[in-house]
């Protein structure tokens, strides 16, 4: 092998080293690189260096994980998009409906009803007749609401939250105590509670405490202007 060929091969093997390190080379390329490593000290050193970087980058980094909260927001977003399409598009017998629109909305409503049933049970156990009446009024109106829908604010309301359907009464109370919050209204038919502060901490502090609990499916602060808006 002449010097030019040797340099070309060296360059080619050098470029492949990261994928030798991450184990994603083809078998044939892997054999070629390993053969080259036996005769090239520079590539051996580089391979060792890249392995150290790989070890650092491939190590899991601690990330706040709230997949259910994100999934809930995605569901709401999809439902809103599907409804917008449904409202905008007149019925056309020549154009069959998108099956996703037909399948998603009923199922979402079933899920929302299941969540609502569980949180209503909790609310009754908590003894919240005012919240129950408010919820029933909302239900009777037949209006469509999401967590982010503009609705009348309640005095002191700064956060809206949804809890896991499996959350027990004592768990719910412990979470609220931990986050220095109390229920001022709710749950809605979608299981949304309106919460106010009980301590001097910031809203962000309470949100972080809430989101640290597995049983909290959703927690969002209200915009300052909204939070201070007077009740109807």
């Amino acid at each position: 092998m002449n010097a030019t060929n040797s340099n070309t091969e060296h360059q080619e093997m050098w470029e492949l080293l990261p994928w030798l390190v991450n184990g994603r080379l083809s078998d044939s390329d892997c054999r070629r690189v390993e053969a080259h490593l036996r005769v090239c000290s520079a590539c051996r050193d580089e391979c060792a260096a890249q392995r150290r970087i790989y070890d650092v980058l491939s190590t899991d980094k601690a990330v706040e994980q709230m997949p259910m909260a994100g999934l809930n927001r995605l569901r709401q977003r999809i439902e809103q998009a599907e409804r917008a399409v449904g409202l905008d598009a007149p019925s056309d017998p020549a154009c069959p409906p998108d099956p996703r629109r037909a399948m998603f909305a009923p199922r979402f409503r079933v899920r929302a009803a299941a969540v609502a049933a569980s949180v209503i049970a909790i609310s009754v156990a908590l003894g919240m007749p005012a919240a129950w009446r408010w919820n029933q009024a909302r239900r009777a109106s037949g209006a469509y609401h999401t967590v982010t829908t503009e609705t009348a604010r309640h005095p002191g309301e700064v956060i809206r939250a949804v809890f896991a359907p499996t959350a027990t009464l004592s768990e719910l109370q412990a979470i609220l105590d931990d986050a220095h919050l109390e229920i001022v209204s709710g749950p809605t038919e979608a299981g949304v509670y309106s919460l106010s502060m009980t301590g001097p901490q910031s809203i962000d502090w309470s949100l972080r405490r809430l989101r640290g609990h597995d049983s909290v499916r959703f927690a969002e602060g209200l915009a300052p202007a909204q939070a201070s808006a007077p009740p109807p």
Partner: protein
């Protein structure tokens, strides 16, 4: 189809079955895909953006596209490659428009880092600082290879570039790391690198 209880990795076949179900309008399948990929995507994106809100926004934008375009998937790549490719493009678009998330400029325009390698900083921090100096495409390529464990062809598909471009980006990323690590701390650079290739 049951929703998995927690983030979970699926096989290629399971992914394809789930995506087919999504294309038929099964939102439970979308839930399952979302939960299966959330952890991977969140960890990948968290290395690029420090803001969890941005990470979640990118993930949700990604799955909106998955929901809307599942029927367009033709199986030319793995489902995982397709989904991560969508996330990659959304991340590029999103991160380029925001301040303080990623330095995408030429490293020539960046100020010298002030960093004390003899302090308590560890190798992880040194590499993290050096990675922040890389142009966006180079850093993403390195993350896709080292953090996500993708092959050259997979990264080419995800990024929409020829395999040669992928190798070139990785090559330049490695060289830039070599340049920046001495600035961040000669001890780290010496520990990690030796002489570059004589080509």
């Amino acid at each position: 189809m049951n929703i998995p209880a927690n983030a979970r990795q699926y096989s290629k076949q399971q992914d394809e079955e789930l995506l087919s179900a999504v294309a038929r309008g099964d939102n439970r399948a979308l839930d399952a895909l979302y939960l299966g990929y959330h952890r991977r995507l969140a960890r990948f994106l968290a290395r690029i953006s420090p803001r969890y809100e941005t990470v979640e926004e990118i993930i949700n934008d990604t799955f909106m596209v998955v929901w809307q375009h599942a029927k367009d998937f033709r199986g030319a790549s793995r489902v995982s490659t397709w989904i991560i490719g969508i996330a990659y493009r959304i991340a590029l678009k999103s991160l380029r428009g925001k301040d303080g998330l990623m330095r995408a400029q030429s490293t020539d325009t960046l100020p010298e880092e002030s960093f004390d390698p003899t302090g308590s900083a560890e190798l992880r921090d040194w590499i993290g600082h050096a990675l922040n100096q890389l142009p966006l495409e180079q850093r993403l390529t390195m993350e896709l290879a080292y953090h996500m464990g993708h092959s050259i062809d997979e990264i080419a598909h995800i990024t929409g570039c020829p395999p040669g471009t992928v190798k070139a980006r990785m090559f330049h990323a490695r060289e830039k790391l070599r340049q920046h690590l001495p600035a961040l701390g000669g001890i780290a650079a010496t520990d990690i690198f030796n002489d570059p290739p004589s080509v």
